[in-house]
């Protein structure tokens, strides 16, 4: 973790992920989902993996991201870049609000508070039917176009073009996040995770740092929610519910805490597995539940950690064989 990998290596890696994914998967839609949930998982990992804050309310940021972006595309028609940037700013704002309240408490109360705020958001979205569509969700969302004046105008109507857009955003965010966690800020976050009292004693304003990381998490998660709404052309109420929160959390732990690469892996494993289970059986959630329990019990470090262990074992076995004459 402490090794300094140059940023362009991460850039190449992200590019490779985005390029290879659709070749391995049956559809661009699934690949798009993996990348955008990967972003949401990175957002969750910033809190849990790097700072040690278990937020059970990530769906609040995800869901409000999809509502904001959807509403802007319907009422304002700003084009893709301003829409997404404003969504991220609003996501950060909501996250700061939640963060300011939630970080007053630690441990289980912190988890409960994030959960309560997410539920609050859910019921507000449910009630505000004239704006959000209530239970039916926000319908008729159009994907805004990217227009560069006098040069070109890109539309994202096809599955492929939308995947390309998501992929480009993914690469940018991925690299920025790698930069963030290796920055002095990221180091302080890790310090807070490892020993909060000490970080405080050294003189860091732990509360402020926690709020900042909430803001980052909120904006990245809102971005993912916005892309999801554009992908579906629809913002369902379920984007902001308990289940979305727990899914994002599960993907995060599945992929491995404190790893940006793991985040993408967690999202990929989860979505491919759900996709596979869903075709097997209408009651596929049972299998998902079993998978969840299995992973939690036997792979506490997540898939990426288990893979590392496996590689370590294989190479150790090779070494052993090499030593024998």
């Amino acid at each position: 973790m402490l090794t300094k990998t140059p940023l362009f290596v991460h850039f190449l890696a992200a590019f490779a992920i985005a390029a290879v994914l659709p070749m391995l998967l049956p559809s661009y839609v699934l690949a798009t989902e993996i990348l955008l949930f990967g972003l949401a998982v990175i957002g969750c990992n910033l809190l849990l993996g790097y700072t040690g804050l278990l937020s059970f309310g990530q769906a609040l940021f995800f869901g409000s991201g999809s509502y904001f972006a959807g509403l802007m595309s319907i009422h304002l028609n700003l084009g893709i870049v301003p829409t997404l940037l404003i969504t991220m700013a609003l996501g950060a704002l909501i996250a700061i609000l939640v963060g300011v309240f939630a970080i007053r408490r630690a441990g289980i109360y912190f988890i409960m508070l994030t959960l309560a705020f997410a539920q609050l958001g859910y019921y507000i979205a449910f009630l505000a039917e004239p704006i959000t569509g209530g239970e039916d969700g926000l319908l008729d969302i159009q994907r805004p176009a990217l227009s560069i004046p006098f040069v070109a105008k890109f539309e994202f109507d096809s599955d492929f073009s939308f995947y390309a857009l998501t992929g480009a955003i993914f690469i940018v965010v991925f690299v920025l996040m790698q930069r963030l966690v290796k920055s002095p800020l990221g180091t302080v976050l890790t310090a807070i995770k490892q020993n909060e009292a000490r970080a405080e004693a050294i003189g860091y304003n732990v509360k402020l740092y926690k709020i900042v990381v909430f803001a980052f998490s909120g904006s990245v998660t809102a971005l993912a929610g916005a892309l999801y709404a554009f992908m579906l052309k629809f913002a369902p109420l379920s984007n902001i519910d308990l289940e979305t929160s727990s899914q994002i959390l599960f993907m995060t732990i599945l992929g491995g805490l404190g790893s940006i690469y793991g985040s993408v892996l967690g999202s990929a494993v989860f979505l491919v597995a759900s996709d596979f289970f869903a075709e097997l059986w209408p009651r596929w959630m049972i299998l998902l539940g079993l998978l969840l329990i299995f992973v939690m019990l036997y792979m506490p470090g997540g898939v990426s950690k288990s893979l590392e262990d496996l590689f370590a074992k294989i190479s150790a076995a090779k070494d052993q064989r090499g030593k024998k004459p």
Partner: protein
């Protein structure tokens, strides 16, 4: 009162075992379905009400033995996700057995109709729920505060190692506590079934409410759960008059407010 009943099981399990049970809500839903099924078979609501906690307790006992017992020493995050997995499995199980359409449960004939209390008209069945919940509450209080079992449970929550060294079988103690807390959720489900019906998806809402009750009162505090239940009930009734759609929003707002003023909940320990 019913909110108290939902919260108290959760708070006992958390307070005594330091275990966060996100499957608590689905046990509430399962309670309603078991009650429905028993009524289908025997035709009597009363048998349903008595058998439900026993059957739910049995389910909880088996789960404790094969799964929950491994989780006492792990992180809260892991407990939460595993119990969410459990929740998914039980909920989908309910859907497989009973289908996706919520099942109605009839109010027993003796409790149908209303009672006039001065100027107030009150449905008999709701009064019955209040009486039963109060009775159960008293029973739980007596059990925890006045019996040997209660003393060992409370001691076990303070220092499991020490209690175990003193010759108490803590594994058995924890199993009983878990079964007991879950059975309380099951009773709540069975009691509410004639009002709300048996709905597989009611678990999420019940879980949310149970957590609000417990967080308001302070995790692990019995009297806190009682007070939390009362507060949630009052907020619910008042908003139901003034702003019927907004009850949930108000409940969660009140919770956030209380946490801000009293970060440990009203009766919580740090």
């Amino acid at each position: 009162m019913i909110y108290f009943l939902m919260g108290v099981g959760l708070t006992i399990i958390f307070g005594m075992m330091n275990f966060v049970n996100f499957a608590h809500g689905v046990f509430y839903a399962l309670g309603a379905f078991i009650c429905y099924q028993v009524i289908q078979v025997t035709g009597s609501y009363w048998i349903g009400l008595i058998l439900t906690p026993i059957l739910i307790g049995a389910v909880a006992y088996i789960l404790e033995k094969i799964l929950i017992t491994k989780l006492y020493r792990v992180d809260h995050a892991v407990q939460i996700l595993i119990t969410i997995g459990l929740m998914l499995i039980i909920r989908e199980g309910i859907l497989i057995i009973w289908g996706t359409v919520p099942k109605p449960v009839a109010t027993p004939s003796i409790l149908q109709g209303v009672i006039f209390l001065g100027d107030f008209v009150y449905p008999k069945y709701r009064l019955f729920i209040i009486a039963i919940s109060a009775g159960i509450g008293l029973g739980v209080w007596y059990l925890l505060e006045r019996t040997r079992f209660g003393i060992t449970i409370r001691a076990g929550s303070e220092n499991p190692k020490m209690v175990s060294l003193l010759g108490v079988d803590t594994d058995r103690l924890f199993a009983l506590t878990f079964v007991f807390g879950v059975a309380l959720a099951g009773i709540a489900g069975a009691l509410l079934a004639p009002i709300r019906g048996a709905d597989a998806f009611s678990g999420d809402e019940a879980l949310g409410i149970a957590f609000v009750v417990v967080v308001i009162g302070g995790m692990g505090s019995f009297s806190g759960a009682l007070l939390g239940g009362l507060i949630v009930g009052l907020v619910q009734s008042f908003t139901a008059i003034l702003w019927p759609e907004g009850t949930k929003v108000m409940i969660y707002s009140v919770m956030a407010l209380i946490i801000l003023l009293r970060p440990n909940g009203l009766f919580g320990k740090a």
